[in-house]
Amino acid sequence: MLIRVTPERLNPEEAIEAVRRDEAGAVDVFLGIVRNTNKGRAVDHLVYDAYPSMAEKTMREVAEEALERFDLTDSAVLHRTGRLEIGETSLLVAVSAGHRAATFEAGHWLVNEVKRRVPVWKKEVWADGEEWIEGPESLGMERAPATMRGS
């Protein structure tokens, strides 16, 4: 199980090789990529902050939970930190299984859970300013609805 939080570029080939097995007929790989816009606003770049040790621990818990919930042979979760330019890969999730349906379901579930649970934060930087994007997919947002938020 390949789990990593790193400021280095993420390599999809590495994740594929990490989950590939002779008994697994299907591999699904998801790449989260830095978009050039968000909510209609031009993004210049992103900066990812993380609590690296807890992020890796949480990613490992989510990946292990996926192995149990779905009929997977292996999974890999990698998240990049630091400054990322448009088009670069921030998140890489790969899963392998005997058959394809499990890989698509597990991949989607894993990406959702990573975004909900893993302590990583994204700052959007525009030409004229910047802002930390917090929630709304995280665990915290389930406890505090939007109308109750502090700021």
């Binding site: 609590y51 040790s53 990406v111 975004k115 302590p119 990583v120 930390w132 917090e134 665990l139």
Partner: protein, 81 residues
């Protein structure tokens, strides 16, 4: 003994640091440590509505104990991916 407190993202910007140490008090919980933090750094109170907490890298409720030597992380709503 002390408690290590960690700040991230917007909260680290607001407090002006990513880490500080606090003296441990007998019976400390997430809430009691957070309240001492707010006394020293009132700007933290603007974040508490949406904060989660982790004690030694495990999500924890407000009434979870914080032992001497522990690390308490204040976790704004995450936005990875």
């Amino acid at each position: 003994m002390v408690i290590t407190v960690l700040f991230f993202a917007s909260l680290a910007d607001a407090v002006g640091t990513r880490e500080l140490s606090l003296a441990h008090m007998p019976g400390d919980t997430v809430a009691s440590v957070r309240d001492r933090l707010i006394a020293a750094h009132p700007q933290v109170s603007e974040f508490t509505e949406t904060l989660l907490y982790a004690v030694d890298e495990e999500y924890a409720d407000e009434d979870a104990p914080v032992p001497a030597g522990a690390t308490l992380a204040l976790i704004p709503p995450v936005s990875g991916g």
